[in-house]
Structures are given as C-alpha cells and as structure tokens.
C-alpha cells in the first residue's frame, strides 16, 4: 500500500508501480511519479521540517517549484547527498533516503523550538540591533554563532562524484513553460516552420491542468489535450521538448539558461548520463509562458503543517490521487479554492466549511457548495488555528467581532488569488506595470525579442490565453525568419472554471492592531508584524523593507510572499501599492546546483595546464615544476638528497663552470613580417631598429603610453622584412594584443603583419663555457666561430637534421645559445643535446637558477624588478632608449615632469654587510633605522638570492636617488633585527662581459 491517504481511482499514477524510500529512517512506499511531497502526504505525513528562525513545525505549502517550506535532505549514497531539496519537486525513486532538516534531536521534538517562544527577541532587524557591541565580539562570538545557527540544510562534505553536461544551442523560438499557453505557442511556432525548443520544469507538461480538471480544450479534458499536443510536438523534427527543465536565468540578447534534471528521479541511473544538463540557449525569439502562482492567506498561525495552497491540495488529489486530509477546511478570497473544495468533497473527503473573506461570493459557487453539503461562511475569516505538529482546528468568525467558533480539521487549504509569474520577464530587463483593475503587476514593454503569453500576462480566460499564445507563437516564428510551414489552426474552444478574486496583505484578524504570527514569507520566517515594524522603524522603500526583514530573500525568491509583503508595507505607509514598487527579480529562478554551473570546469579542466615539448623529459629527470601563468616550468632539478637550496647552488655553479641546459620554450614569440616591420618596431620599442642587420639581435624595451616599462625581450632580424620578437613568458598574449592594437588603431598605414609563434618553437638555452662545444657537432650550415657568429646574432640552419633558428644570446652572462626548433622536434633535439652535455659535466637547470644567474649580472625581470611605475632611466636602461627617434609609444609619457624629477627610485645593487644574510624580497629600505614609526621608506628590495658563484648574498632593489647613493649604508628593518646594507652597482659578476663574448 502506497499510503493510507490514496484515493482509489483518483490521480494519474499507476498504483501497481510502487517504489520504496525512507523518511528520517522510516521505510515508506510511494508510487512511481510521486513527488516526495505527494508520497509523504499519502503516508499521512505533513510535518517535514522546522522553520529557519523560530524552528516552527512546517509542512508542504505547495505542490510545485514555489515551495518555501518543505526543504529536505535527499541522498542516494554517502557522496550523493543534496540539502534543501524541495519535496514538491523531487520525484521519489526506489532507494531514496530523505531526511528532515533544521531539527535536533528529532523532528517532533526540537530544542531549537525555544526560539518560537523567545520570538519577541527575534523581530525584524534583530541581528542589526543586538550584535552591535562590543565590536570585537562580532568576529569571535556573534558571527560564528549566527553562522552555525543559520541555514537550513548541511552542505555535503564529500567530492561530487557525478558529472554534468553543457550544451550551447540556438533556435528560432524558445518557449518557457509547457502549460496551455506555452504548448499552444510552441505548436503555432513549430507549424510556422520555426526551430522550437519548449522547456517545462515538471516531469510532464500540462501546467495548471495538473490540478485543474474542469478545463477542456476543443472538447478534450485539458490534461489529455496537453499530453497529445506534447506528443505531437515531440514527433516534429524541428521541435525539442525538454521536460524537468527549468529556465532559471534570462540574460542579455535572448541568452536563456536552462537546467535539465537528467538523473535526479532515477533509481539506478546509467553512469554515462550526466546528473544535470545546462542548456545555454540563444533564441531569436522567446515566448514566456510561465503561468501564475497561487498566494496563501496571511492570518494568525497560518503555517502549521496541513495548511497549504488550494491548488496544491487539488494537484495532490487530481494528479497524485492523494487526499491532503480527512477533514479539510477552506479559507479563500478566490474562486479557484472553491473548485478544490468541490473536488475534495466529491472524492469523499469531508469539507466542513468554506470560509470566504468576500461578502458575496459567486452565487453559482455558493449553490454548488450547498448542493454538495459544504457550509459556506461568506464575509468571515479564519482568525487562528490550533495544532502542534499538524493543524487541528480553525477559529472562524468575523474579524470585526461577534461570535467565533472552532471547527475541527486536519488540513486547511487556502487561496488569496494568483500572482502572474513575471520572473523571466523581469530578468529580461522588462519593467512590470501595475494593472489597477486586476490589482496585479503585469509585463509591460518587452525590451528583448520576446513576448509573454497566458496567465503570466494576467489573462484569466483559458480561451483568451490560447488565442493569444497561438498568435504570439506564430508571430515569433515569423520574426525569427521562419518561412516554411503548414497550415494550422489554433484550438477553437476552451472552457475553464473561474479563478477570479484575490486579496493582498494580511487577512482579517492579522491586521496592524494585532500581534499575531501571520506568516508572509515562510522560508525566512517573516510575519506581517515584521514588515510593519520595518516601516515603523523608517524603512520606506520596498528594497529597504526587504533587506531589513529578509522578506522574499530566501531561495524561493518570494514567489508566494512578495506581493503580500508589498501590500502590508504599502498599507502601513498609506501609499498606493505601485508607488512602493516591486523588488527586482534575479537569476536563478529556482536554486541551481553548483555542479551544473561549474560543469566541466573542475579537476584538470578547471583551467588549461600548458606544458612545453620537453615537459616529459623534465618530469622524468626529477624536475620540480612551478606555475607561471598557465605554464608548468621546470623550477629546479634536485638530485637525491638535495633540497632546493643545494640543487640551485649546484646548478648555478655548473652553468658558470661547465654549461647548463634550460627550457625557454614559454618565452613569447611574435613574427613581425612586412616591408615596414623595422618602422613598426621603431614605434613599439624605445630602441632603434633601422640599423640592425639581418642576422643580428638586440635587446628591446617596450613602454606603455605613460612612459613606464611594459615588457622586454630580444629581437632578432631574420631578413630585411622579417623579425623574430621575443617577449616575457607572462607577457606573451598581452604584448601581442598591445602590438596588434597599435597596428590597427594608430599605425594602420604600416605594411606589416604580426603572427604569434610562441608555440611554433621549442627553445633550448645552452649557457656556459662549453655551450659551443656541446652544440657544434649537431649543427649544420652555421659557422659558430666567435668571429662569424658573435654575441647577439641569429642564424638559420639545421640541428639534428631539422630546421633551427639559432640565437647567440645570453640571460646568464655566459657564452650562450638559444636553439629554436619546431616544437614537435623539441624533445628529440633536447635529448641529443643532453647526450652531449651530460658527459661533459653540464646540467639541466630550472627557472630558479635562471633567476639567480641573471641577477648576478644585474639583468632585470619585468614584473619583478619593475612594477609598472619604473621608467627605462629608473631601471638604468637609458642606453636602450634611442635619442633621435621622433616617435615611439611612451615618448611623451617619458617627458612628464614627475618622470624627470630628481629623487625617483632607481634600480641599484644592495649588498648586506653580513654576506650570509639573504634579504627578503619586498623588504623596505630606510636611511635612518632609529627614526620613529612610521619610518620614511626610501625603497624596497626587488630581487634577492644566495649567489653560490659570488659566495655571498646578492640583491637588487629600487631606492630613491639610488645611483647617487652608491657606497653609502642603508638599512632594512625587519621584525627580528635591522639589516645593514650597502648600495652598489647591480652587476655582481664579470662586469667587463668577458665571459659573454668567449
């Protein structure tokens, strides 16, 4: 038996297909197609959790995605556990484990329930007022306690084992919502020849026909019509129907994000299936058919389990075959609750009374009620309810006074009317407009290529909704350019019962004169009283009221509460409702998992990891890698027993004594080709390139417009019209863009083209006294002699039988070559070179050794020794600035008075008096260590290393007027001691450059 509250013959599920699940450990049976909500109610369970703030017992309010209350922890296994799942959306699958939340030690007896009795303490703005002082307590005491107590579910602690999929799709017409209007629009658009996507958040389309069994279209019951139309759509090759798919974000230019729940309802999902699919739809036209959401009545103690929306009770009955109670009270301001009452009564449920706040409800409804034997209490209110864990009775009477009586019930259904669901419209940046006659906010002008149809536009009549949707669907197809298509006529007739009548704000007995708990926002535990308090305390804008009370700020986005909250605030302010305004709707419409959003971008796909062609060899030879942007670069190669320091010392010594091999492939490379190539470089660099002959290279500095150093690198001239430019590793993409930007916008007259060749070339630097001897036997067609190929030259030839651009250059101060070979040959050439280098006693070295060796020579690293405020002169690189060029990027910037003023920070060497002390990079430099705090800082350390070759520490730094301070003593104050330093030249080894030219 799948629950004692099933009514034989009711509902659309197949009773024989049962599934088992547990709720708080208790084994229960459901029917396939049940939501957790319908299954629990079938089993007589209304109490599903405790509320957020007051820990009040709560149950299902709705039967759909708007559910604020019934948030459950759902799990399949230890790793697949999801908190805060709406019981009204989650379908039951065999083996599902459901657990109530926010209760301790048990759901029925919850210690936190004390908050309910202490509720006067927890009024709106309670946190803001209470935790103001002492200030220090906020961080240590208040915030941790509030954080621990806040939130409903507990987030999962294990890594998510599921995978998710993403699909970018394009279509002519996207229809959001598969109710009568959405289906009609989709059908019209599809028959007009458009490519259509229809998404609907429920397992089955049909929208309101889930509960409304009175409606019929062309003589067919609404539900059956919806299913047959859906089958027709599914059979069309130009239509994609996505069920269990929620449109949750409407972005710019008709980019709509949908999430499809693929396996959430399956007992044993195929491991190949993604848990969820994110559909990123780019639609030429969007039809919004999101329907309307019923509001609850705001009255005292309207939150007890068993009190729910009338449409929910009707859905549970008509769709799931479940009676929400045995004795159901009705409290309404809207006709649609009457229909629910009639359905329940006819299904054999006792309905003691319909309480309608309206003085004179539709006589036809009243007559029908009498006919069914239901007592009608017009012009009356439900003034209070009783029942601890489930509603037991309702107190009925006139709000103005007079006799009252308690009516025993075990469920109470209610309706304050329907709120058009304008979330998607509002997200599309449309502004809602107040419709005075119907007292509703409705879509106004559509600012994107979209249209709204059906109940979300305030259309109450089914025939009107269908006619409008058919027109809009057809128009959307035409606007999207669809031409083909066949004749199709919209349904001719449609009839449905009235949904007229509504009220906003608090009902009788819960007005400003009372202090009852009449809930407006169930999820955030906001009462009518809280909203009044917010207004009394000076919050006059709805945006302030919302933030002060948190009304509508929970994950349900105020689907049931916004309008009530607004009406109560407006009443308090004595202003018409539209003048108080509606808060903005934002994505997501309903909660979306992190998994769907993150999608593929986790683990190794979180960000690309770039490896050089020699990475495998480096890894096999014990390299430790460092991250440089997305690149993995060999940092150092420790031998067994060596720490980083020892490895780097050995590598530094070996390069200067013998030779070393370094992977420089990550350097940015740009091929600059064209008759005006030299002229272009003249404009991009401070240097002059006219006189550089083919076969020679030069170190270049590139500035930004403001005169500060942007990048540097060696540029080789391959031919009269062809340069091989290198950039820093980190600067490669931005330098390319910088150059392309100037070429296209400032210098479009130049006949020159730029091509990134960073990845075309693997680059092997061979540095050290034996560099030439290592490469010589492998090189063909290039004279390597010092005379034929001096320092700073480039030749094309072959190495190991493959083409090479061989640079003679050095970033170490040693004789050096940089062997460029097409990338796929990099590993083989490296191995061939290593086979020669290793027996000679050379080593492979990493970026750390490269840093030390260049610092020993005083070569700067842009971004380390410069920080975007360093000019060529500051860096001591004035020699690289052409004096006679009329123009280059940064020339005007360099002439700014503050860049020419004396006292600028200049790059100098900094040697500690104690050679064993290695300064900290970033440490501040002062002239007088005894001055009072805060000290005047005149510079800082930019590079600092232990230099094994110098037998002491070395450092570079920028110091105000540094070059004129050479020989003087300055100080680096550190927490534990003050370090004495001497300002020196920044070249620490081979000042004459003998080794370079060897």
């Amino acid at each position: 038996m799948s629950g004692t509250n099933r009514i034989k013959g009711k509902g659309r599920l197949t009773p024989a297909r049962t599934v088992r699940f547990t709720f708080d450990g208790k084994a229960l049976t459901a029917i396939e197609g049940d939501t957790l909500a319908s299954a629990l109610i079938a089993n007589g369970i209304h109490l599903t959790g405790r509320s957020y703030k007051y820990h009040r017992p709560r149950g299902m309010l709705s039967a759909g995605p708007e559910e604020p209350n019934a948030l459950i922890d759902i799990s399949r296994d230890a790793a697949r556990r999801t908190p805060n799942v709406r019981a009204t959306v989650q379908e039951v699958f065999d083996g599902m484990r459901a657990k109530s939340q926010n209760r301790w030690p048990s759901l029925a007896f919850d210690v936190g329930g004390i908050n309910n009795f202490a509720s006067p303490l927890f009024a709106a703005g309670f946190y803001y007022k209470t935790f103001m002082w002492p200030k220090a307590a906020w961080k240590r005491v208040y915030e941790p306690i509030i954080r621990a107590a806040a939130g409903l579910g507990v987030s999962p602690s294990e890594p998510d084992p599921d995978h998710y999929a993403n699909h970018y799709v394009h279509c002519d017409v996207l229809v959001i919502g598969g109710g009568a209007a959405g289906l009609t629009a989709a059908l019209a658009a599809a028959h007009a020849g458009a490519q259509v996507i229809l998404c609907d958040e429920q397992p089955e389309t049909g929208g309101a026909f889930h509960h409304d069994t009175d409606a019929s279209i062309d003589g067919v019951p609404g539900w059956e019509w919806a299913q047959s139309v859906t089958a027709e759509l599914r059979a069309m090759s130009n239509v994609k129907v996505l069920s269990r798919t929620t449109a949750f974000g409407y972005q710019a230019q008709n980019h709509v994000a949908l999430v499809e729940r693929v396996t959430e309802h399956l007992s044993n999902p195929d491991a190949a299936l993604p848990r969820e699919r994110l559909w990123q739809v780019r639609a030429k036209q969007v039809v919004i058919a999101t329907g309307a959401i019923e509001r609850h009545m705001v009255f005292a103690n309207n939150d007890r389990p068993g009190i729910m929306l009338a449409s929910a009770a009707r859905t549970f009955l008509n769709h799931f075959g479940v009676a929400v109670g045995a004795k159901v009270g009705v409290y309404t301001a809207c006709d649609s609750a009457w229909a629910a009452a009639f359905d329940l009564k006819q299904a054999g449920v006792s309905v003691p009374a319909i309480v309608d706040v309206r003085m004179d409800p539709d006589p036809a409804l009243v007559a029908r009620a009498r006919e069914l034997g239901i007592e009608v209490l017009a012009g009356q209110s439900v003034l209070d309810t009783s029942g601890k864990l489930r509603v037991k009775s309702m107190k009925v009477g006139r709000a103005s006074g007079g006799s009252r009586r308690d009516i025993a019930i075990d469920a109470l259904i209610m309706s304050a009317g329907w709120t058009p669901s304008v979330h998607m419209y509002s997200q599309s940046r449309g502004k809602v407009v107040w419709d005075e006659p119907s007292q509703r906010f409705l879509p106004g002008r559509h600012v994107q290529d979209c249209a709204s149809v059906g109940a979300c536009t305030g259309v109450d009549d089914l025939a009107d909704a269908i006619a409008g949707a058919a027109k809009a669907g057809h128009a959307a197809a035409r606007a999207a350019g669809a031409k083909a298509g066949k004749a199709w006529s919209a349904p001719k007739s449609a009839t449905a019962a009235s949904w007229a009548g509504s009220m906003m704000g608090s009902a009788g007995g819960a007005g400003a004169e009372t202090s009852v708990k009449a809930f407006v926002d169930f999820q955030n535990d906001v009462t009518a009283k809280d909203i009044r308090l917010a207004v009394r305390e000076g919050m006059h804008s709805i945006e302030h009221v919302k933030r002060f009370t948190t009304n509508g700020m929970a994950t349900d986005q105020g689907k049931t509460s916004n309008i009530h909250g607004l009406a109560i605030a407006a009443e308090m302010l004595g202003k018409p409702l539209p003048q108080v305004g509606l808060t903005t709707f934002r994505a997501p419409y309903t909660p979306v998992t992190f998994g769907a959003i993150v999608n593929h971008s986790r683990g190794s796909l979180f960000d690309p990891t770039r490896c050089t062609p020699m990475h495998g060899w480096e890894d096999a030879h014990g390299a430790v890698f460092e991250d440089v942007g997305q690149w993995k670069r060999a940092w150092y190669y420790p031998r067994p027993g060596e720490d980083m320091h020892q490895a780097v010392n050995r590598e530094c010594r070996t390069v200067r004594d013998v030779a070393g091999m370094f992977d420089a492939s990550t350097l940015g490379k740009i091929e600059v080709v064209g008759p005006d190539a030299a002229e272009f470089l003249n404009l991009m660099y401070t240097n002059s390139w006219d006189k550089l002959e083919p076969g020679r290279c030069k170190y270049g500095i590139m500035l930004r417009e403001d005169g500060f150093i942007y990048d540097d690198g060696v540029v080789g001239r391959i031919a009269e019209d062809r340069f091989h430019v290198t950039t820093t590793t980190g600067g490669a993409p931005r330098v390319m863009h910088h150059m392309e930007d100037y070429l296209q916008t400032e210098f479009p007259h130049l006949r020159v083209w730029l091509t990134s060749t960073t990845e075309q070339w693997a680059v092997i630097a061979i540095q050290g006294p034996k560099a030439r001897e290592i490469i010589a036997p492998l090189v063909e067609g290039i004279d390597l002699s010092n005379e034929a190929m001096p320092h700073m030259s480039v030749r094309e030839g072959r190495i190991c039988g493959v083409p090479t651009r061989l640079f003679r250059m050095s970033f170490t101060g040693e004789t050096g070559y940089e062997v460029n070979v097409p990338a796929d040959y990099g590993e083989a050439v490296w191995k061939a070179l290593w086979a020669r280098a290793e027996p000679m006693g050379a080593c492979a070295y990493g970026t750390e050794t490269m840093h030390v060796l260049r610092a020993e020579k005083g070569y700067i690293i842009v971004g380390q020794d410069t920080d975007g405020t360093v000019t060529p002169d500051d860096a001591g690189l004035n020699w690289a600035v052409a004096k006679k060029k009329p123009d280059f990027v940064g020339i005007r910037g360099m002439k700014r008075p503050d860049l020419l003023a004396p006292g600028r920070k200049q790059l100098v060497g900094l040697l500690t008096r104690d050679p064993n002390i290695v300064l900290e990079e970033g440490a501040q430099v002062v002239a007088d260590p005894n001055q009072s705090l805060p000290m005047t800082m005149i510079g800082h350390v930019t590079s600092s290393y232990w230099s094994e070759n110098c037998g002491r520490s070395i450092a570079m730094g920028v110091v105000a007027g540094g070059r004129s301070l050479k020989g003087t003593t300055l100080y680096v104050p550190m927490p534990e001691r003050t370090i004495e330093i001497e300002v020196t030249d920044a070249v620490f080894i081979d000042k004459e450059g003998v080794r370079l030219n060897g």
């Binding site: 299936l273 593929h600 960000d607 006949r751 075309q760 063909e780």
Partner: protein, 184 residues
Amino acid sequence: MAKSAQAVRTEPLAGRVSGSAGVQVTPAAAAVRVSLRADPENAKALSKALGLELPLKPKTTAGSLPGRLVAWLGPDEWLIIDETGDPLSDLRKAKVLHSAVDVSHRNTAILVSGKGARATLESGCPQNLGDAVFPVGAASRTVMGKIEVVIIRTADTEYRVECWRSFSTYAFDFLSESAKDCLA
C-alpha cells in the same frame, strides 16, 4: 661536421583515442600549416600560387584534406593546412605583398566525428554550429571551454578542431568529457 641522426617528431597527442558510442575523438595527422596575411586585393595572385581560390567570405574554406585546405579567419588572414604539399614554397612564387609564417608545430588538430560530433562541440563552443550557418566547409576561429580554437566542418558529421600545441591536452580532455553526453 659530423652528420647527426635526424631528430624524431613527437606529436603532443600521439597515441590518444577517446569518444563514446556516438562520437570518436582522435588526433589528426601531422600537417604543414601556414598563417597567411595579405590584403584581399592580392588574393588572386596568392590563389594562383597556392593552386586554389583563397576564400573571401567569412566562415568559409577552400580545398580539402589530406591535400590543401584554406580557411578564412579574417578579412586579411587565412590558415592553410596541408598534409601532403609545401604551401610555404608555393607562396614564395607569389610576388605580391603578403606575410607567410610557418605555424605547422604551433597548432595541432583533433578530429571529432560521428553522429554526436556537433553536440560534443556545442558542449564548449557558444557559436551556432547549425547546418544553416555552419554547413560542411565552414570554418571559424572561436572558443571552446576556456581556450581559443579553429573549428572546421569537414563533412556532415566530421569536424576538425585546431588549437595551439600546449592547449591540446586541455582540448582533448574537454572533448572527451563532452563526448560523454553527445546526445547520439
């Protein structure tokens, strides 16, 4: 100078195979690639040198592999891919102003084929790859996941994804992950 042994070529995705029931993901064969830049006014002379008409319409290609394929990437930019010939030396014959840069090793390519090929690409590429706007022979420089790629539709259910060498592991892994839900 002693003649040394010829260095062997190590392609970045050598030996990798992936895919699912509806799609195969495999590394493409090695090819010569040239980045050609020129004023479209000179297209005629360059076409003559190359032996095929340089495409001048956005998102189009000329020729086919394993011979020579040229993809339009921009108003003055083409990507030439050739698995058999030598487009660089052919271009040297053209006397008109242009820039030809060898990018054979800068790029590598992944072939995505099968009924689920399009859905696999649509997992990471926001561009419209539908028949109407991206028919066989179409090509586009675009993004896939977090990287830049050139997608060329070589047949009804076959695409070639060109990416830079160091991004190829990411590209291959991304396509392998996408292939799991190729909707075929």
